[in-house]
């Protein structure tokens, strides 16, 4: 994160371009109109101020939070693959709080929803942290399994206890206006969650490099045995805190999505956001400023993919192929290599 940074940023950009080229080649060989798709992608993502605000930045918001969540865990060497489940837990808790508080003013409801979302995500991650500290279950395995449990639990909630009053659709009741995040720009879909996410990144930038907790996490991530013996840091404790904090941030992402975009809980709330967030965090070199850039890129990629599907019939799943290619591109860069060489 020192003199390699500009070189790495250059490499990342190259890798993104290479990934786009590979994806274009695949689509061309499948007989798609790649030029038309490229135009649709551009228009949908960056073509107008409305595309940027209502599509790209709106879709970047969950990636800002979730990329940060993944980075907090990864920096401490905790492989939290469960941001997806923590996102769902946070979203479910926020919707439950918002519906329970119907009739209250927004100044009371929204902070309660925020707290519920953070607590929901933190609690879901705390299960994995507890399984690790008490039963030595590796986080990679437990967080993956907890994702599957969370998806099915949300499926249960929206067909059972939290189903909307008419019991016709598998989704929760709609949040009242007082329980929704206000929009940031009149007439556009971007909401205040975006600003909250930027603030979270700014706070993280300070705490990663300017606080003792940030330093401890970094020391544990880089070399746990040295941190334990030379630094007298409790590695287990730092890792548990990092995982739970990561879960809380992912839970806030869920809060932001349900109160700012969907206004309800339903099964498909996360189309794999938690997994894409790993790409966001890595592409951003686990640094808040990098994550902002990567999240906006992923927002644009997804917004563009939506438009390319709508206008040129390109399957939106192409975005996840590109995301995978991008991770493979950056994962061999020296900075990440150093970060993960010691331990996993």
């Amino acid at each position: 994160m020192t003199r390699d940074t500009p070189r790495q940023a250059g490499l990342s950009v190259l890798m993104v371009l290479a990934a786009l080229l590979v994806a274009a080649a695949i689509l061309r060989s499948a007989g798609y109109d790649v030029t038309g798709a490229g135009i649709a992608l551009w228009r949908g993502a960056l073509g107008s101020s409305s595309a940027v605000i209502s599509a790209t930045l709106k879709r970047a918001t969950p990636f800002l939070f979730l990329g940060l969540a993944v980075a907090v865990a990864f920096r401490a060497g905790v492989l939290n693959i469960g941001a997806d489940g923590q996102f769902l837990a946070g979203g479910a808790a926020a919707v439950a709080a918002g519906l329970a508080m119907a009739g209250q003013p927004a100044s009371v409801t929204i902070p309660t929803e925020l707290a519920a979302g953070a607590l929901g995500g933190a609690a879901w991650a705390a299960i994995a942290a507890w399984l690790r500290s008490r039963f030595e279950v590796a986080e990679v395995v437990s967080t993956l399994l907890l994702n599957m449990v969370a998806v099915n639990l949300v499926g249960f909630l929206v067909r059972g206890p939290m189903q909307e009053p008419t019991h016709a659709y598998p989704q929760s009741g709609i949040l009242p206006h007082s329980a929704r995040l206000p929009s940031l720009v009149a007439g556009e879909q971007l909401h205040w969650g975006f600003i909250a996410a930027l603030c979270a990144c700014a706070f993280a930038a300070w705490s990663f490099n300017g606080t003792a907790a940030g330093f401890r996490a970094k020391a544990v991530g880089l070399n746990p045995s040295a941190a334990e013996s030379a630094g007298r840091i409790s590695v287990a404790r730092v890792r548990a805190i990092a995982l739970i904090t990561s879960g809380a941030i992912a839970g806030v992402a869920g809060f932001s999505e349900v109160t700012g975009v969907t206004y309800a809980l339903y099964e498909g709330l996360s189309p794999g956001y938690g997994y894409m967030a790993i790409a966001v965090a890595l592409l951003g070199a686990l640094q808040p400023t990098g994550i902002v850039v990567a999240a906006v890129f992923f927002g644009a990629l997804n917004a563009g993919a939506d438009a390319a599907q709508r206008d040129a019939g390109i399957p939106a799943a192409t975005a996840s192929v590109i995301a995978g290619l991008v991770i493979l591109g950056v994962v061999t860069t020296p900075e990440l290599h150093r970060q993960f060489r010691r331990d996993s």
Binding site: I81, Y275, S320, G324
Partner: protein, 304 residues
């Protein structure tokens, strides 16, 4: 009345087969020190390959699945062994790519159709004599991949514990420098383990299509690859344990059949969540992963 327990056992064996195949493969890789979470995507891509080739015959479908599995595992191996990238991250990337690719190709190839085509499934193979037994006999008529699973479990056990190659592979996962000191290349064992693992993952994906569903649906692997990874930990990194673990998971998944058969009022989605929760619970009860290979998930240090 005795049909219901037999039906549940049959459902258990059926659900255990694809998970067990992938888990036996993952076991080999993990004993060589490699954690490959890309098998989820590999399974789905293999399932898609199986539906494409399965239009010819179910056996062609199986072979296409195996090839797709090997291909996906080779991409993973290239990045992890040759380029020395972090395993979990490469695994996530390969999973996303393979899952995305199976969805994209499905839309591309079957764009005009509402769904992927139906293919013929493998017929059940009766075990001579034994399948004529009353009751349990009907369990001894399974499609080919089920027998392959138990044969693979036995072969892997023999290989790991009874051959020099198996000893070197296990040593690769514990202390690669010892393998190098013995004049062998640990990377070679990792490559071999991943290729065999890819083949078994591919077979698992193809099983979903040509032995079970008869068609492909998007995101068909539905977390089975992740479960296979948990099952390896559940089975304490031994072939017999992995087979028992996958049957346990199969039994937990067949809960939904019990619910249907007896009309128990448990919501469907909770029965879907149960196998994952049970797996977590058993992992905790067995005290997690302290018997994992010492170098699991870590890149081999360069010599010198």
């Amino acid at each position: 009345m005795s049909d219901v327990p037999l039906g549940v056992i049959d459902a258990t064996i059926r659900a255990a087969t694809p998970i067990g195949l992938a888990a036996i493969g993952e076991l080999l890789a993990e004993r060589a020190g490699i954690l490959n979470i890309g098998i989820e995507g590999g399974m789905c891509l293999a399932a898609f390959a199986a539906v494409v080739a399965g239009a010819g015959s179910p056996v062609a479908g199986l072979m296409a699945g195996v090839l797709a599995g090997i291909l996906t595992a080779s991409v993973f191996a290239l990045f992890v062994i040759r380029l020395r990238a972090q395993q979990v991250i490469v695994g996530t990337a390969v999973s996303m790519m393979a899952l995305g690719l199976s969805t994209v190709l499905n839309r591309v190839l079957y764009a005009g159709l509402s769904a992927a085509p139906q293919v013929h499934t493998l017929p059940p193979m009766r075990v001579p004599v034994l399948s004529a037994l009353p009751g349990v006999g009907q369990l001894l008529a399974q499609p080919l991949p089920t027998y392959v699973l138990y044969a693979a479990g036995a072969s892997v056990a023999w290989f790991l514990y009874r051959t020099i190659g198996g000893l070197s592979l296990r040593a690769t996962g514990e202390d690669p420098s010892a393998v190098r000191a013995a004049g062998k290349d640990p990377a070679l064992f990792q490559w071999a383990a991943l290729v065999v693992s890819g083949a078994l993952t591919g077979l698992a994906g193809a099983t979903l299509v040509v032995a079970q569903a008869g068609t492909f649906t998007e995101n068909m692997s539905a977390g089975r690859g992740y479960i296979a990874i948990a099952v390896v930990a559940l089975g304490r990194w031994t072939p017999a344990g992995v087979l028992v673990g996958s049957l346990l998971f199969g039994a937990a998944s067949s809960l939904q059949y019990i619910v249907q058969a007896y009309g128990v009022a448990i919501p469907y989605n909770l029965t879907l969540a149960a196998p994952y929760a049970v797996t977590l619970f058993v992992l905790a009860a067995l005290r997690g992963s302290h018997r994992a290979p010492a170098r699991l998930g870590r890149t081999i240090d360069l010599p010198g």
